[in-house]
């Protein structure tokens, strides 16, 4: 079993939840999301996030708007939708249950 691959898969599984969590705090553009996630050591490489953002947006959980930037091309600012908030709530509940379950199974 490839340990690196297993770790990556584990992270990917909760990545959607993390992205929604970041956006729950307010509007953000991909670089903001990326730095938050990088800080939390949630992701190592940036590429992963783009297909995910597009998928969440297409599923109606996120929405975005264009904003002119001081330097460079306009940026996409993402916002969480009502559906997204609800979805995030569900995920959080599951996460808490899981975390508890994991904690309990780790007890000596």
């Amino acid at each position: 079993m490839d340990i690196e691959n297993a770790k990556a898969q584990m992270r990917k599984g909760v990545l959607e939840f993390c992205i929604l969590s970041v956006l729950q705090r307010g509007e953000a553009y991909p670089s903001d999301i990326l730095s938050a996630l990088k800080e939390a050591k949630m992701i190592v490489v940036e590429g992963t996030i783009y297909p995910l953002l597009t998928r969440l947006k297409n599923d109606g959980l996120l929405t975005y708007r264009w904003e002119e930037s001081v330097q460079g091309p306009p940026r996409k600012y993402y916002n969480i939708t009502k559906d997204g908030t609800q979805f995030h709530g569900e995920l959080k509940k599951t996460w808490d249950e899981l975390a508890l379950a994991v904690k309990q199974t780790q007890k000596p």
């Binding site: 783009y50 460079g72 996409k76």
Partner: protein, 536 residues
């Protein structure tokens, strides 16, 4: 020193070194491959390019304004390997399955522009069937030849309807190789290498020939059109030449309305001297031959694609063509003039009806020309006497009219044309027509004729028989040769306005009636009946 390329990435322009560009391009292509089955492919790729553009912009400053290989490497390490873009395992499985579907089992047909001679149709077919490209090419050439060139339409249709393999994925599919990241990167490497070689070769070649084919598509299309028109022109040229051959050598001029006539007959019968025929033939050759040669020459030039021009050929051919038309017109008009005047003579002969009230009409045997070889054509019959042809006409026209009381009369009308009244009269007087009157019977010759040496100038003979009202005409043997005659009304009574066919005396007993059976006919002949049935 390195070459740089200017690229547009996510809406911003960057200068990037060539090797860095190739690396970035491969990277983006491989990422793109992850989302082949994703509707959002374009959007995802756009976002990724935007991010890379942002990372590029961060690295730009006053002293650095070009992206190099190490920058791209750095960015790839930030963004992640192409595999890192995959969303999860499910997607990976799906994509692999998709590759298997359209890669291994389903080979798609594309045109191969990289290995093309014209449209890459044959090269594409060779990939599809796994053959050497030479095989479909030979087959296409063979079909083209046996179809007389019409199969070119099939090729053009194929060209128009089958797409060319443009992207790497399409090129792999064309070859039936699975479309996956490994194959794509291998293929791109090969492509880049061979493209480099090709560009080098091409550069040398163009430098040597000094020509620039800036747009290959246009030149290919032009080539195909040139072959198409070249074939059509050669085809027309050969058609005209064979037409000329048939008219001159086979001497069949029935296509001009002279059925069964040869140039020789026309010459000795219509033209005043042999020169006329020769001038006409030379003019005809020039009129048909010049365009034939022009078509062949232009067609062959298009086919072999040469720029060589024979100097003055065009103007010579046009002059020949015009001269040919003038010669033919000249001779045509001068011959038509020979027919411009006409003369008619009428000759009346009274027939003392010996007994009864019936005039018997018969046609005598052909005394002059029987046994000679004759050529039937639309002038009449031509008979060869000595070295010349004699006109031996049959357009005799017999008409029976209501005449004065008590007098049977025969009128012989002769007509002829000529270039002058005198000549028309002279030719008219030469017309020979024989008939004889024996008691109450007129015997007509089946033909008139003109002496050898007289030209055909529309000579003809009309016969008119005048029969008093209330008397009878009986049509005797061979009368069908010179008149429209109804077997069942062999004896007809002259009424007030022409024949009175309603009165019928056939009920009366005719004791003198005879039945004569000959080899080829049955004749019933009596006072009021004269029926002849001929065996076919």
């Amino acid at each position: 020193m390195n070459k740089t390329i200017s690229i547009n990435l996510g809406g911003s322009v960057f200068n990037i070194e060539e090797d860095a560009f190739v690396m970035l391009k491969n990277y983006l292509d491989r990422i793109k491959q992850n989302f082949v089955n994703d509707d959002a492919q374009t959007e995802i790729m756009h976002d990724i390019e935007m991010r890379i553009a942002e990372l590029f912009a961060e690295r730009m400053n006053d002293r650095k304004n070009v992206m190099v290989h190490s920058d791209v490497q750095e960015i790839i390490s930030i963004m992640g390997r192409p595999e890192d873009y995959k969303l999860n395992d499910d997607d990976e499985k799906n994509t692999n399955k998709a590759f298997a579907d359209n890669g291994n089992s389903k080979r798609r047909i594309f045109r191969d522009k990289d290995d093309a001679i014209a449209g890459g149709v044959c090269a594409g077919l060779s990939h599809y069937f796994g053959w050497d490209p030479l095989i479909p090419r030979l087959i296409v050439v063979f079909i083209f030849l046996i179809s007389g060139g019409t199969a070119i339409l099939g090729y053009i249709l194929f060209w128009a309807l089958v797409p060319a393999a443009e992207t790497t994925a399409e090129k792999l599919r064309m070859r039936g190789e699975p479309v996956n990241v490994e194959n794509i990167s291998r293929f791109i490497n090969e492509e880049t290498k061979s493209a480099g070689e090709r560009i080098n070769k091409w550069g040398k070649k163009t430098a040597a020939s000094g020509r620039k084919h800036s747009n290959e598509v246009i030149s290919t299309l032009g080539r195909v059109l040139a072959i198409l028109f070249g074939s059509i022109l050669v085809f027309f040229g050969l058609g005209l030449l064979s037409f000329l051959f048939i008219t001159l050598v086979v001497s069949d001029i029935s296509m001009f309305g002279f059925e069964g006539t040869s140039w020789e007959m026309l010459s000795s019968l219509v033209f005043n001297n042999d020169g006329t025929l020769w001038i006409l033939l030379i003019g005809f050759c020039m009129m048909i031959g010049a365009p034939a040669i022009a078509f062949l020459y232009l067609g062959l030039r298009l086919l072999v694609n040469t720029d060589k021009l024979i100097k003055g050929l065009g103007i010579s051919l046009i002059s020949l063509f015009v001269l040919g038309i003038l010669l033919c017109l000249w001779e045509g008009i001068s011959t038509a003039k020979e027919f411009s005047r006409d003369a008619m003579t009428k000759n009346f002969v009274e027939i003392p009806a010996a007994k009864g009230d019936t005039l018997h009409l018969e046609t005598m045997d052909d005394l002059v020309f029987t046994g000679r070889q004759s050529h039937h054509n639309n002038f009449g019959d031509l008979v060869k006497m000595d070295s010349n042809y004699t006109y031996y006409g049959e357009p005799l026209h017999l008409e029976v009219r209501n005449g004065e009381a008590g007098v049977y009369k025969l009128e012989v009308r002769k007509r002829s044309h000529g270039r002058s009244i005198n000549q028309a009269n002279e030719l008219n007087s030469h017309i020979r027509y024989d008939y004889s009157v024996l008691g109450d019977t007129i015997q007509f010759a089946p033909n008139f004729w003109t002496p050898t040496g007289d030209r055909f100038r529309g000579q003809c003979v009309d016969l008119i028989v005048y029969v008093p009202q209330g008397n009878y005409v009986s049509y005797g043997k061979n009368m069908n040769l010179i008149t429209w005659f109804d077997d069942e009304k062999a004896v007809r009574r002259m009424g007030e306005d022409g024949f009175d066919d309603s009165e019928d005396d056939s009920d009366a007993i005719d004791e003198d009636a005879k039945v004569l059976i000959t080899e080829d006919s049955v004749i019933i002949k009596g006072k009021n009946i004269d029926i002849k049935t001929k065996r076919n």
